[in-house]
Symmetry: D2
Subunit: 280 residues, 4 copies
Amino acid sequence: MLSWILALSCDDRPGIVAAVTGLLRDQGGNITEAQQFNDAHSDRFFMRVAFDIADGPAFRNAFTSLAESFTMDWHIRDADRPTRTLILVSKFDHCLVDLLYRTRMNELDIDIVGIISNHPRDAIRISNLHGAPFHHCPVTKETRADQEAAIRQIIDDSGAELIVLARYMQILSDGLARDLAGRCINIHHSFLPGFKGARPYHQAHRRGVKMIGATAHFVTPDLDEGPIIAQGVEAISHADTPDRLIAKGRSIEQRVLARAVKAYSEDRVFMNGQRTVVFD
Amino acid sequence: MLSWILALSCDDRPGIVAAVTGLLRDQGGNITEAQQFNDAHSDRFFMRVAFDIADGPAFRNAFTSLAESFTMDWHIRDADRPTRTLILVSKFDHCLVDLLYRTRMNELDIDIVGIISNHPRDAIRISNLHGAPFHHCPVTKETRADQEAAIRQIIDDSGAELIVLARYMQILSDGLARDLAGRCINIHHSFLPGFKGARPYHQAHRRGVKMIGATAHFVTPDLDEGPIIAQGVEAISHADTPDRLIAKGRSIEQRVLARAVKAYSEDRVFMNGQRTVVFD
Amino acid sequence: MLSWILALSCDDRPGIVAAVTGLLRDQGGNITEAQQFNDAHSDRFFMRVAFDIADGPAFRNAFTSLAESFTMDWHIRDADRPTRTLILVSKFDHCLVDLLYRTRMNELDIDIVGIISNHPRDAIRISNLHGAPFHHCPVTKETRADQEAAIRQIIDDSGAELIVLARYMQILSDGLARDLAGRCINIHHSFLPGFKGARPYHQAHRRGVKMIGATAHFVTPDLDEGPIIAQGVEAISHADTPDRLIAKGRSIEQRVLARAVKAYSEDRVFMNGQRTVVFD
Amino acid sequence: MLSWILALSCDDRPGIVAAVTGLLRDQGGNITEAQQFNDAHSDRFFMRVAFDIADGPAFRNAFTSLAESFTMDWHIRDADRPTRTLILVSKFDHCLVDLLYRTRMNELDIDIVGIISNHPRDAIRISNLHGAPFHHCPVTKETRADQEAAIRQIIDDSGAELIVLARYMQILSDGLARDLAGRCINIHHSFLPGFKGARPYHQAHRRGVKMIGATAHFVTPDLDEGPIIAQGVEAISHADTPDRLIAKGRSIEQRVLARAVKAYSEDRVFMNGQRTVVFD
């Protein structure tokens, strides 16, 4: 018996769960965890099922026609295969360090198939990339198109399923953002929608807020407006300088991004228009 | 179409979800929310389904034989009927005040069918009980059995489904605790298992902890050892006196107890041996 | 020996603490709690001292010339006299209820000298105002000036030191906001600067954030831009409807506003340009 | 002008702050941050002053006689000199990794003068110790005394001011614990006083708590009973297995230990009997 995960969404109507779980039973599957959500606002239905089954590919075949009859967005995958993940980074390496560490500790079940930076290898101070290939893709205003072509090539060659912007300080072109829709996660260093744009910790200091935060969201062509996956905050005080906010913020960013990557890699995250459904 | 909730637990085996949801579909039901959990430690399966159906009682009848074939603990109830709730209190009325207020604001969907105190009405400073009958059931070491008989009578007469010890400073007899198993919730003013027993805030102050908390749990004959439903904490500092801990603790107790009562009244809480399953 | 509190701010320069505490010692005072903060950005110095002294008024007199030599903003007050507080409210009474309750429990050391609403007494469902005079000050676009004159009169007559907008759904005129600068606290039902303006919980739902919050701030003519005193948040999920956000938000608002009122009433809050200093 | 920090405690009596700040002023010092606390329970006074002064050593000399007259525990140190820190670790390296990273990011102002493990270098998977000498001090029941002698030697040779047990899975002898009193910090992987002793996450799982935590405390001969410096928690659910608790716990442990080390290295932590005073 092997473990598999089925994730699907479709317009709501009676009988979806019965159809899915009935087929699973008929094919000899055993459900180990399942969650459903019906969004009354969009009338959209979301479901995630983890199950054990002897022959996963056979179930996938059997499921195809059922999925068609409900016009589902869906995928089924081997739960034991780590999600192939590509990480983009600039000079701040704290999120990269954290993702590498959690992966090594088996807390994140991802396979880091590559690391891309717009800066050379030695701009990142971390010494051990644990075997992940490093790609230097420098960029200027003039060479953006070429650089993104290089990134696309690396995505294709590595078979990356998930692309993580781990404090990557470049804005993706609309075209690339669109093409990566639903599988590219960014960490923004503010509690969105507050403090969009540049230098959010300085904005937060100037505004005198009493908590700072970070936001992991899907990348879309609308900068800082993509569907939010996870957020976290920490209390601050009048005595915190912008530099101390940046330092406190680093650990919030690490935590929040790791939470989003973990949820995504376990097929717990669904796009729902401008919003997300995240099954705990 | 009316709204109903089905909550069940049974030993795990393949086909439970398919059987339940298949029957629901065949009876014309539409699932609006569903959660399952399979506890690998106890090999026990838990499920909560909220659904719309034209004829709930008919479904209940149909469900009975299915439930027997899986040896389920289960109940089905009209989601629109508030849970009949009896509140026991001593002199501290902050949790009572909070439950009354949240009920009035429709945040808690409960029907407060009575309030019992071991002190007279005027020991509680709140002036408006919003129509809930008040029962004075005084108790001494000698009269405990009689007092508990009176409490049992009030439970029976009021049809209370849930009994809440909202800072009720008496210990229930083993017999009463056992008879109310799984439907009597207590709020303990510490982050259990730390600081069991009397005066937990003074214990916390003496130990010098940096956070205090509160714990809502099912009452069992083992004092302060019942299955935990909800917990909450707040940071404190060296400058907090025991009196300030008590004041801070009051709002933690209110929040945590309200969370537990809300979850219970929505059939989201299941006993699982010494532990609980709580569906968000 | 009686307890007093001295709160001061002035431009930073060497010798302030020595001068203040030297005078205190010479006058027979004993410091029980003291905090200082030097804001490197504004080069402004803030100090709060709680002390016991036999003759407080005599110390106040002695302090006057010292204060002048440092060009201080300052006040000294009897720590045992509750802060005279006026509460403005519209229809939502959860913050009012909470402030009344915490005052009754001696958690807030304030004297509620009046409650003003733009709605009649019976629009507020709470039955017991614990002796606080209720003033109905209705308002329309045309009568705003008259209504604010009535409010000013009540402030004067009651000797209110602190004015709390406890979900008061009217915008103060620039003139009144300016005149109450530094002693009028509002609770905004969002985690500012996100979701300014109307219906913030609906905005939050639409944006799909994963946490909601509340913000207590000083009222200024710039709507939702006043210096922030306290903030709080709570995690939410995709399953929370706007109505559930409003319900969750109520308890955040209560907590955050109570925290701000408590800090203010203990002279722990200082304006610092667009920001605040809040000594824990 | 250089930055210095003065930290002191003594029995409370009038005039301490005036004496200290008066001397500072007379010696040309300028206070940048100061905090005092008078513990009404122990009648003990605590003070931390950060100040700029041209000649720190001269002030230290002048302060000596003042300190004697108040029978103070005190020290004055150059604020720009990082605290010399020795880290002890066994096989779990997540806290070590985190301390190294935060030190490299200048978030912690410590100088890691050595790393001791009871396991060989390759038991720790981190590859880069950033120049900190590694000492392998193996231990068996029989060789404990010799091993601790080796540890003492390393402490002496390295001039370590702070000793951090960063998931060091050996219990110090009473003698060593006593000799390191007030400068040896341990991270315990539970929210003390709950779940003392071995395998706390398994205990937490069995008990069914809804939050787990970690505690940084001073080491004393009483195991898990030392004065607490910092604590942190995170919410968990019925679905969290012991392994997931261990993974979630790792990041709580990192955060809490880093917070304690940071506070200690900035002279913000004072022993106060079985408790601590920690100035934010």
